[in-house]
């Protein structure tokens, strides 16, 4: 492999991945899944897709380890107030999962609570580690 490509790859240091198949990824789950964001897709204004939000959430660590990434996926409610969601977490979902790498790495112990900042800006989603209690 030419060194130039290695240089480019190292420089870009991709932090946000889409199309990850979590069922095939060698990974250990450190926390239970937590709701990050809820958007009303067909709604304009606050809370809708075309909005700006900055939330903070807490995730409780259940197993000792090092947090390398925050993975996320979607539940899509196709019909209003149906209470039935299509999950993109399932192995058969054609929409795969996504992940944001943590930088720097976050050591975590069972019982710790990690606060995450979730800025959302008109369709762009980011998840960042704020603090580790």
């Amino acid at each position: 492999m030419p060194k130039f490509f290695i240089f480019i790859a190292n420089c870009s240091q991709v932090k946000h991945h889409l199309d990850l198949n979590l069922d095939c990824l060698s990974a250990t789950s450190l926390s239970k899944d937590t709701e990050v964001l809820r958007l009303q897709v067909d709604q304009l204004g606050p809370g809708g897709l075309f909005s700006e939000q900055k939330r903070s959430i807490s995730a409780k660590i259940e197993r000792d380890g090092i947090v390398h990434a925050v993975t996320y996926w979607f539940l899509i409610e196709m019909l209003s107030n149906s209470g039935r969601f299509l999950s993109t977490r399932g192995a058969n979902s054609h929409i795969l999962q996504a992940a944001v790498l943590t930088s720097p790495l976050v050591p975590a112990k069972a019982g710790n609570v990690i606060k995450l900042a979730v800025p959302y800006h008109y369709g762009l989603l980011q998840i960042e580690v704020m603090e580790n209690d």
Partner: protein
């Protein structure tokens, strides 16, 4: 105020709610793939994982649910 025609032609079902859920993971593999650190063997993995962080991509694909619903998992209580 609703504006269905912006996202889909009139008459098509438009996703109503979108809930994002997350989980913290330990994955040295993912971490190393993202930071190649001169290991050419991992370049291939790196190239296969690309960066897109727009929900538009997700929503665009969500319309495939209408065409290929059998490929998607239905959950009543969330996952």
């Amino acid at each position: 105020m609703r504006r269905r025609s912006l996202l889909a032609p009139e008459g098509l079902i438009v996703p109503h709610n979108l809930v994002v859920r997350c989980e913290l993971i330990e994955s040295e593999f993912l971490y190393k793939c993202s930071r190649v650190e001169s290991d050419s063997r991992q370049i291939a993995d790196f190239i296969n994982i690309y960066e897109v962080n727009s929900l538009w991509t997700i929503l665009r694909r969500a319309y495939h649910l209408l065409l290929y619903p059998e490929n998607c998992e239905l959950s009543e209580s969330g996952y």
